[in-house]
């Protein structure tokens, strides 16, 4: 497992291929926040043949809904939400060009298959370390669905967001592998 890999979005096919489950990565560059309600709307837009709120080619989505920004700050606390709730939508968005997902928790087999077939990657951020992660956000602006409040799509410019490769492009995942190492019984 590699430590201290520094990456800037968008990630190249080559970069994604080299990442292995368990690698520790610091992500900089643009990521878009989207969670339950935004995913539902984006898939409805696709159904209607409407354009997406941002360019999906090589894009990175962070499953997160931030706290409001205090005066003088770009954003409040912002950590990952449970990714499994977006499993229904993720393979479809990956077909549209989505490459990178950041969240927490295991994905279903359809998402793992889509990650392998599209050469994508799923990163896990540490759930609940949101005050620290808010410090990695350099700027934030709402780009779609403002009426959704915290669930609006935001364009974040990150600097060194600490994450772990949770599912790599070969389909290996840290959750199953890590757990097996420390499982004592059952």
């Amino acid at each position: 497992m590699e430590e201290n890999i520094q990456l800037t979005t968008p990630l190249s096919e080559e970069t994604i291929k080299k990442l292995k489950a368990g690698d520790m990565v610091y992500i900089s560059g643009v990521v878009y926040t989207a969670r339950d309600a935004a995913h539902k709307r984006m898939c409805e837009l696709l159904d209607q043949g409407e354009p997406m709120p941002f360019d999906f080619t090589g894009a990175a989505i962070y499953y997160a809904g931030p706290c409001p920004a205090k005066p003088g700050r770009s954003i409040g606390s912002v950590g990952p939400t449970t990714s499994g709730r977006m499993d229904l939508y993720a393979p479809r968005l990956m077909k549209e060009g989505l490459k990178v997902m950041i969240g927490k928790g295991l994905r279903n087999q359809e998402v793992i298959d889509a990650i392998v077939s599209t050469n994508g990657v799923y990163f896990a951020a540490i759930g609940g370390a949101a005050a620290l992660m808010g410090q990695s956000v350099q700027s934030a602006e709402i780009v779609a669905f403002e009426d959704l409040g915290t669930e609006a799509v935001r364009r974040l410019v990150m600097e060194n967001l600490p994450v772990i490769v949770a599912i790599d492009s070969q389909g290996r995942n840290i959750y199953d592998e890590g757990r097996k190492v420390y499982q004592q019984s059952l």
């Binding site: 368990g22 931030p66 706290c67 606390s77 759930g127 005050a131 620290l132 409040g149 890590g178 757990r179």
Partner: protein, 280 residues
Amino acid sequence: MREIRTEQITELVEKLCIDANCRLSDDIYSCLGKCCTTEKSPLGQKVLGTLVENARMARENFDPICQDTGMTVVFVTVGQDAHVTGGSLEDAINEGVRRGYEKGFLRKSVVKDPLDRVNTKDNTPAVIHYDIVPGDEFHITVAPKGFGSENMSQLKMLKPSQGLQGVKDFVIQTVSEAGANPCPPIIVGVGIGGTMEKSALLSKKALLLPVDQANPNPDLAKIEEELLQSINDLGIGPAGFGGSTTALAVHIVTYPTHIAGLPVSVNIGCHVTRHSEGHL
């Protein structure tokens, strides 16, 4: 009869909402620190160190520890000789939530209708539980509940014949299925007995107990210890990346039940398990 004004209640709830979300309780804070030294996985140690650092920074800056500042669960204990004046108690509590979430820059996570799903934009309404007791006390605990962990909680109506082993199996199965989703290391609240809804309420109240406090009933204390060991043997670990620290505590609360039933609720709390209390 002692009078308590609704404005006092609103002010207290406002303060407790901010406090619960920004200040990790001392027992959990020190427990996380201790686990940094006992955790077997090097990556797990790093995760725990990050959680301690995050909590320290949140305390210092009065920032929310986690962006999920929860649905606001409020436990009110009112003495039967206390008299609330100046309007509706429920409105006063919700006004406190509204102000606390606005002033504290806390996330508004509540939708008005579970099916239509339109955000109320002020985190109201709270989920309020009342206990009426003798005397004239007025006590409030604000326990905003994040849904990463709430979603992984389960309830089951066991048969009496399944007994203690059935309870243990259900607790372990619930935590195992939850995996990384509830942000381990978790706190496990177990409510056993009563009716369906009573067991659920007991399991939520169990989450409010200090992590370093053993059950006053020695039999239950032993079961809690065994369950904690079994849960940590699952290997889920901090953030679910593998490790020996999956839970910080298991708390069991029981209540008499029906001859035909053995209700069990398992309410999972994340490593923040927000709660703050105050008196008037």
